[in-house]
Symmetry: C2
Subunit: 225 residues, 2 copies
């Protein structure tokens, strides 16, 4: 209606709103990844459809296959992004903390039990990705690539925390039954993940601060052994 019917380059024709905006591939790819995660949060596994995602991103159905070879590659890219956001956020929180093993561990735990990590929507996203894990080599590869960074971060902090606890009495004999670092890391990871899972499933069951306290108490017990 509002002008522009003529093909001649009148001022009105030039001023009309473009039907779409071209973007750099990198930006568009990221927008599609964000839309994928948003769809997972809103609709769960059913949100993983080309049409749902493209609608969420405000683009046409054909665009996804222009930027990604197929749907699975988009999902894997979204999983990679989601994972690195988590690990990156935790690393940043640790880096911001005071320069002591105890403070770093606390910062790590508090970041783990805060938004955006402690979020029911986030659990919904994780769970769908986990459900794809067994039958998608792409997802398995992303998992292997990113999980390493998480384990290294947690293990490093636990190691320096335990080392500090022993430091005041360097010649004290190692008590029988002191768990090795490997089992300690396994246990802390389990407690952390389990609490995180429980809270997301039933946010009213306990407060995030209680989860942090439970984890810290666990580490304290380890140090006292």
């Amino acid at each position: 209606m509002s002008g522009g019917g003529s093909p001649s380059r009148t001022r009105a024709a030039r001023a009309r709103r473009p039907r779409f905006e071209r973007q750099l591939p990198q930006q568009r790819r990221q927008a599609l990844i964000d839309a994928t995660i948003e769809c997972l949060k809103r609709y769960g596994h059913e949100g993983l459809s080309i049409r749902t995602i493209s609608a969420q991103a405000g683009v046409s159905v054909g665009l996804i296959n222009h930027h990604f070879p197929n749907k699975n590659q988009l999902i894997a890219a979204a999983y990679r992004h989601f994972n690195s956001e988590l690990v990156g956020g935790l690393q940043a929180a640790v880096a911001r903390a005071a320069d002591s093993p105890r403070a770093r561990m606390r910062a790590f735990l508090e970041a783990s039990f805060c938004p955006p990590n402690l979020d029911q929507d986030a659990l919904a996203v994780w769970v769908v990705f986990w459900g794809l894990y067994r039958h998608s080599r792409l997802i398995q590869r992303v998992q292997r690539d990113t999980y390493r960074g998480y384990v290294r971060l947690l293990r490093g902090m636990l190691a320096e925390r335990l080392a500090q606890a022993r430091a005041p009495h360097p010649r004290r004999p190692r008590r029988r039954g002191r768990p090795d670092l490997r089992l300690a890391a396994i246990g802390l990871t389990a407690l952390l993940d389990g609490l995180w899972l429980e809270w997301c499933l039933e946010p009213g069951a306990f407060r995030p601060a209680e989860a942090v306290a439970l984890c810290e108490a666990w580490v304290e017990d380890l140090c006292r052994r």
Copy 2:
């Protein structure tokens, strides 16, 4: 080919293999539920299709809607069965154990870290169900119905275990910082679930016995406080 072309009731006609076997609704329903779980183990979320499930059960596509009003009801029934198998198995293990709080707790833990509960296939099934949780009221209802039994079992055992630990010194004042039963149950559940999850994701990372030991050490620490 092999006889029976004639509609007359010859002996060959009567002896021919029936094209299908009628079953009681209850039996057929259970067979469909079993097939659903088997499909989830084999194909993950993609196994949740009417055709896949009916093929697994060896019946036609139409039969499912004869025994279940729709697909979601079948899935919910499968989830209910899967849950009660778990809780029932754990209860049975506890009932078989010696009559002491410590033995019961150990039996519970060992059953938790044994097949069929400790199983990668089982995790794949759980994860798909969890992915449906947020967007299916049916699944939410089943979860609410069955999870209660699990929590009650675990909480009861932990309560008697902690009570026993206090028993020898009934008049000893309650120490500062002793966690209440509520938080203790939350922590044990988290540790248990987290270890179970970790093992299923990476079965080589630790042995089931180590998981049991970690949980028992955690309970021991609780008792000593």
